[in-house]
């Protein structure tokens, strides 16, 4: 170690070597310390302070016109006093096709915040990103307190969700029992781990003028069977207004067509035992052959790459004369292109040899177990799913979301526009994913792997109905037979 004058500072008290040593220690210590601290925290987590159980806010907001028409019982406050003030709450939802819904939800959160002192925020992300985001949050044990979920997801995240039986019972007491398709997709075994909020339904969306030009006798009563639809599609395509259907990897419109067509032609993913795959049925093979024979003649052939938004754009751009969709095309057209809105006629799903069905499972909202504010989250859901708030949410969507119970279905917003009535009627023909089994984690996996949708896409690409259905059956067997 040098003792030379140039190697020492601060009157000889600090050597160059000591300085280097200090820097090295200084660099290493915080990181080592931080790591040790982090490991320590992971190993022995500090329990988060839980606010005491909750009561719904005392003051209920003024009911909407719809609410006034069919008054509902107010949410019953729970018995124990609450200390929610100052707690935080984050909610995650997918975006809504009726964008005003998001503004309303933000406003509702503000109201809830004012009444309870809870600092609540909400994020809306694209539909396809919602499940990965929830998966990542569950895996990391951190993220939003409340999540909006699609059907079958409660089964997928059953270990991560808080039991909300108390709130659900309260809802059923006030608003009556849920629809069967709701129970089949939200109940996990006999447990309510999330609160049903209904689902957007789909219907056939036609341009009346295109039907007329194609020679359909009564455009106000569009084709009612799959075969008639395909036949008129040929004439519509000749006039430059083909049928437009998405078959890409997208979670809304492609399954709308594929599941409905499959069921209407006697096939299903699995029998009621939840194990026996019932996909490769002769009637379905024949139906698929029929569909393939019309694909080039009647459909826009770029549909293989379409997602949930493409058919909306194509319809509003006047490039197609028919599609399956929620009411979003009509709602958008009313604002942007009233002439197209006027020209639209909706019709429920077509019938096939085995009947008329549509893919319907309820969305729900759940609380994640890792939340540090479970009491606040429960208080919010209790408040928000009560008719005073929930009705506003349904109303602003103008019938886009079918309610999970019959209680709301006579409300004016479901009836005021006759063009939207088929969307409510669709609730009668709902079947859950995974039918005839439950909409459980296996149905979720089959759906997430796009097996039914890809069966159609493969058939279109290869032109071989048997091979595509065999492929689908073998993929389903891997899931349901496991």
């Amino acid at each position: 170690m040098t003792n030379s004058a140039e190697g020492r500072w601060l009157g000889g008290k600090l050597s160059r070597r000591a300085l280097v040593r200090g820097i090295a220690l200084g660099m290493a210590t915080p990181i080592v310390g931080g790591l040790l601290a982090a490991c320590g925290q992971q190993a022995t987590p500090t329990p988060a302070p839980q606010p005491t159980p909750t009561a719904a806010p005392a003051q209920q907001p003024t009911p909407t016109a719809a609410a006034a028409a069919t008054p509902a019982p107010a949410a019953t406050p729970t018995a124990t006093p609450v200390v929610l003030k100052g707690t935080k709450l984050n909610i995650l939802f997918g975006t809504f096709f009726v964008p005003e819904t998001q503004d309303l939800m933000k406003q509702q959160l503000q109201e809830f915040g004012k009444e309870t002192g809870v600092e609540a925020t909400i994020d809306f992300i694209n539909w396809p990103d919602l499940q990965p985001k929830i998966s990542a949050a569950v895996q990391a044990g951190a993220g939003p307190d409340i999540v909006g979920m699609w059907d079958t997801w409660p089964s997928l995240y059953k270990e991560a969700l808080v039991d909300v039986q108390d709130i659900v019972e309260q809802r059923m007491k006030g608003e009556g029992d849920y629809f069967d398709w709701v129970k089949k997709t939200v109940l996990v075994g006999d447990q309510w781990l999330s609160i049903p909020i209904g689902a957007p339904t789909s219907a056939q969306v036609f341009r009346k003028s295109a039907l007329q030009q194609a020679g359909w006798p009564d455009p106000n009563n569009p084709p009612d069977t799959w075969e008639d639809l395909f036949k008129i599609g040929v004439e519509m395509k000749k006039n430059g207004m083909p049928l437009g259907q998405a078959f890409g990897h997208s979670t809304g419109d492609p399954p709308s067509f594929c599941y409905a067509f499959m069921w209407a032609h006697g096939a299903m993913e699995v029998e009621a035992d939840g194990k026996t795959v019932a996909f490769n049925k002769p009637q379905f093979v024949e139906g698929m052959k029929l569909f393939l024979s019309y694909w080039k003649q009647a459909f826009d052939e770029t549909g293989l790459s379409w997602d949930d938004a493409t058919n909306n754009r194509a319809f509003l751009a006047g490039q197609i004369g028919w599609t399956f969709n929620g009411s979003s095309i009509y709602i958008a057209a009313k604002k942007q292109a009233p002439d197209i809105a006027e020209d639209i006629v909706h019709h429920i799903y077509p019938k096939g040899p085995a009947g008329r069905f549509n893919n319907l499972g309820s969305w729900s909202v759940g609380i994640l177990k890792y939340s540090k504010n479970i009491a606040g989250a429960k208080a919010f859901l209790e408040w928000w799913t009560a008719p005073e708030q929930f009705r506003k949410w349904l109303e602003i969507q103008q019938g886009y979301q079918v309610a999970p119970t019959a209680y709301y279905l006579n409300d004016p917003y479901y009836k005021s526009d006759p063009k939207l009535v088929p969307y409510v009627e669709a609730a009668k023909y709902g079947r859950n994913k995974g039918y005839a089994g439950l909409g459980n984690e296996k149905a979720a996996e089959a759906f997430a792997r796009y097996i039914v949708v890809d069966t159609f896409a493969r058939a279109i690409q290869s032109g071989n109905a048997e091979e595509a259905i065999q492929w689908g059956a073998s993929e389903l067997q891997k899931i349901y037979g496991a």
């Binding site: 040593r21 990181i31 826009d300 770029t302 792997r449």
Partner: protein, 314 residues
């Protein structure tokens, strides 16, 4: 026997300890490791830990949201060998990796040679060249998504207006079209990396050598082959290897443009692992196994890269 006062003892111990620590810190190797420790720890935390965790998960049947899965050995890997979509995924990844890189290399080289010439606004053009590389991939992928849109694609619109086609082109609607479209977008994004790296190399080529070769009667092509190419050879090898590695590990472009569709025909390792592990099925074990199938290829490429760099250093 007199007993030492308690205070003296307690004071003596820390002093001895301090001396020992000081002595320990005086050792060069200890100091060197201390300096390296932040880097090591970051590598351990953010690279090694996820890697080994990934290996462990791939050997279990772990799913999202459930407590850690059970050990299943190599079952996930064996299952994938029987999965037809996985076979297609492997093929797609190789096509995607090995078809795009030569194009990027040649185009990048041509661009670099062009930008190495003296002309007005050269610096502006050089800066603009970097745009595809610096724009976030997710954002540029969205732009490509609009360009390839089945309904509103400007390419289809132009071709229709010129009377060359009658209906829109399904850029992403069939496997062949989709793979070609993905490769074009990837080449567009990756070419600037080659161009900039090669341009830097070109500027290191001594002008005197070119002049000497010209005096000896060498034409442009001969000068390029005999003078320029040997100097930039190292850069070409390194950028090519890097590009193959990045293309193999790509995710964003394919995810945004096709999500692996239609009919799972455009998946590459990253997107298929995502679809199975995170995107819905929640099968983390199989998802991790898919990702790890990529490891041997990347390991070999990385080894070649490192070996080359070391040989150049020597």
């Amino acid at each position: 026997m007199t007993t030492a006062p308690a205070g003296t003892v307690t004071q003596a111990v820390p002093l001895r300890l301090r001396e020992r620590v000081r002595h320990w810190l005086d050792s060069e190797p200890v100091l060197a490791y201390l300096f390296m420790s932040p880097g090591w720890l970051i590598l351990l935390l953010f690279m090694s830990y996820p890697f080994f965790l990934g290996i462990w998960i791939s050997l279990t049947d772990r799913t999202v949201g459930l407590p850690s899965g059970e050990f299943v050995g190599f079952r996930n890997y064996a299952e994938l060998l029987r999965d037809r979509t996985f076979h297609l995924t492997v093929m797609n990844t190789f096509i995607y990796g090995f078809v795009t890189v030569p194009f990027k290399l040649v185009l990048g080289l041509l661009l670099a040679l062009l930008l190495n010439q003296a002309f007005p606004m050269r610096n502006v053009l050089r800066a603009a060249l970097l745009l595809p590389w610096i724009v976030p991939t997710a954002l540029s992928s969205l732009a490509w998504l609009m360009l390839y849109d089945a309904v509103l694609s400007p390419f289809s619109w132009l071709l229709k207006n010129w009377g060359l086609i009658e209906s829109n082109i399904a850029f992403l609607g069939t496997r062949t079209n989709a793979i070609i479209s993905l490769c074009i977008a990837n080449i567009w994004r990756g070419t600037p990396f080659f161009a900039v790296a090669i341009l830097a190399g070109l500027q290191a080529v001594p002008q005197e050598l070119h002049e000497a070769a010209a005096i000896e009667g060498a034409n442009r092509v001969q000068r390029f082959l005999a003078v320029t190419l040997p100097v930039i050879k190292g850069i070409l090898v390194i950028t090519t290897l890097f590009s193959i590695i990045w293309t193999f590990a790509d995710f964003q472009l394919v995810y945004v443009l096709t999500k692996g569709g239609p009919a799972n025909s455009t998946h590459i390792f990253g997107t298929y692992a995502w679809q199975i592990g995170i995107g819905g099925a929640g099968k983390l074990g199989i998802g991790a196994a898919i990702s790890l199938y990529m490891f041997p290829v990347l390991a070999v490429l990385s080894a070649i890269l490192l070996r080359y760099v070391r040989s150049q250093e020597a």
